[in-house]
């Protein structure tokens, strides 16, 4: 009986192994998703006309599934993350996500006339935390390094930081969040984020 179980386990393991092996490498994923989104920006008439609803839809369906907003928010919160209640944490993740989508949808159109250079990944084969490097070339201007901090979560690679020309999004927001928490507590930060997202704040 035990033999059968072990055999069953072995067969199951052998069947699942190719699935794990075939998993997309983080740099391959960045390349695929980038080219896919740039393709949409270049060809979709609604996106080109600046239709915000359509742009948001593209971001929601193509980009967001590859982001780990919980980790992003936790990193940006730093020490303050653990002092937040689960309900506060949930609100923070939601609001931060909304803020980033708003920012991204404004910037997305700028990527139309640019070309991307994908750098080879420098990481250990079984690393679980990597930085994928890309470079954006714009005619007549300095190329900008666009890097992604990525981690493996539930078997898939997710982005937890975007580093634009050396400026880390998470590091930037850590200062911002810290200052808000110091002056108004975690609820104060949630309130500020909500106000900003509803367009009340500048």
């Amino acid at each position: 009986m035990r033999y059968v179980v072990r055999l069953f386990g072995f067969v199951l393991g052998a069947a699942l192994a190719p699935l794990a092996m075939a998993q997309e490498a983080p740099d391959a994923m960045v390349k695929r998703v980038t080219l896919e989104v740039v393709g949409i920006i270049k060809s979709d008439p609604k996106v080109q006309a600046g239709d915000q609803a359509r742009i948001r839809e593209v971001i929601e369906s193509k980009l967001l599934p590859h982001f780990d907003f919980e980790r992003m928010t936790a990193l940006a919160m730093g020490r303050n993350w653990r002092t937040a209640t689960p309900e506060q944490q949930k609100q923070l993740v939601d609001q931060f996500r909304t803020l980033l989508v708003r920012t991204y949808s404004g910037a997305l159109n700028q990527y139309r006339d640019q070309t991307f250079d994908f750098k080879p990944l420098r990481a250990e084969p079984n690393a679980s935390d990597v930085i994928v490097k890309t470079e954006v070339q714009r005619s007549g201007q300095q190329p900008v390094q666009l890097d992604y901090g990525m981690t493996k979560k539930d078997g898939a690679w997710k982005v937890y930081d975007v580093i634009v020309g050396g400026v880390s999004l998470v590091t930037n927001y850590r200062d911002e969040f810290n200052a808000q928490v110091q002056s108004g507590g975690i609820d104060g930060l949630i309130k500020t984020l909500t106000a900003k997202n509803s367009g009340a704040a500048k």
Partner: protein, 241 residues
Amino acid sequence: MKGSWAANARRLLLAGALAAMLGGCATTSGPMSQADPYEPWNRSMFEVHQAIDGTFIRPVVQAYIDYVPAPVRDVVHNFFSNIDDLFSALTALASGRNDSAGHDLGRVIVNTLAGFGGLIDVASSAGIPKGGWDYGLMFGAWGIPQGPYLFVPLWGPTTVRDGTGAVARAFTGPISFVSDVPTRNILYGMAVGDARAQAEPTYDLIDKAAIDKYTFIRRSYLQRRNYILYDGKVPPEKEEE
């Protein structure tokens, strides 16, 4: 008119740099006190900047972007960018960044000869990357610390080191060598105007992304400068600066 605020910016920068140096090692408590000991002063200067920029400069820049065709704006930008490349080549060379210096020197030669005196950026099309080096980074490469962070109205974020570099740049020309005062002022106005127009997308992004613009700009500026200085490999102890 335009030229006078460029001159003002220079005067203010000098005054700010002097004040910061004279201030020496004043300390306040706070998360960024090491990099930004003059935060209250800087914040008020940032408010001044926002008021002036929002009221007078941003509308002009927006009109420039809306009404002047992009190829014309590109020519203006390329002209000043070509001069910057020469300074970038020299300062990179003095910093031991030979690759960067070589690229920039190549850019200057190609753009000056094949790009009608730098009006067309042929080098970028040919794939020669822009180094973007300057005096501030050169001082940094020599081991001079960045010093206190400063926000200078009409100029933007800087540090004592980078501000000193900007003043050095203003004095080493080539615009300061133009003897005809009106021409010189027009050139200053165009250079500063072009720089501000180039920054407009960044202003937009900051409006959308930042919770507190002052903090956002400070962190972005310091991260960016360290990133260039250390060629992307910022030592951990410098990251929190």
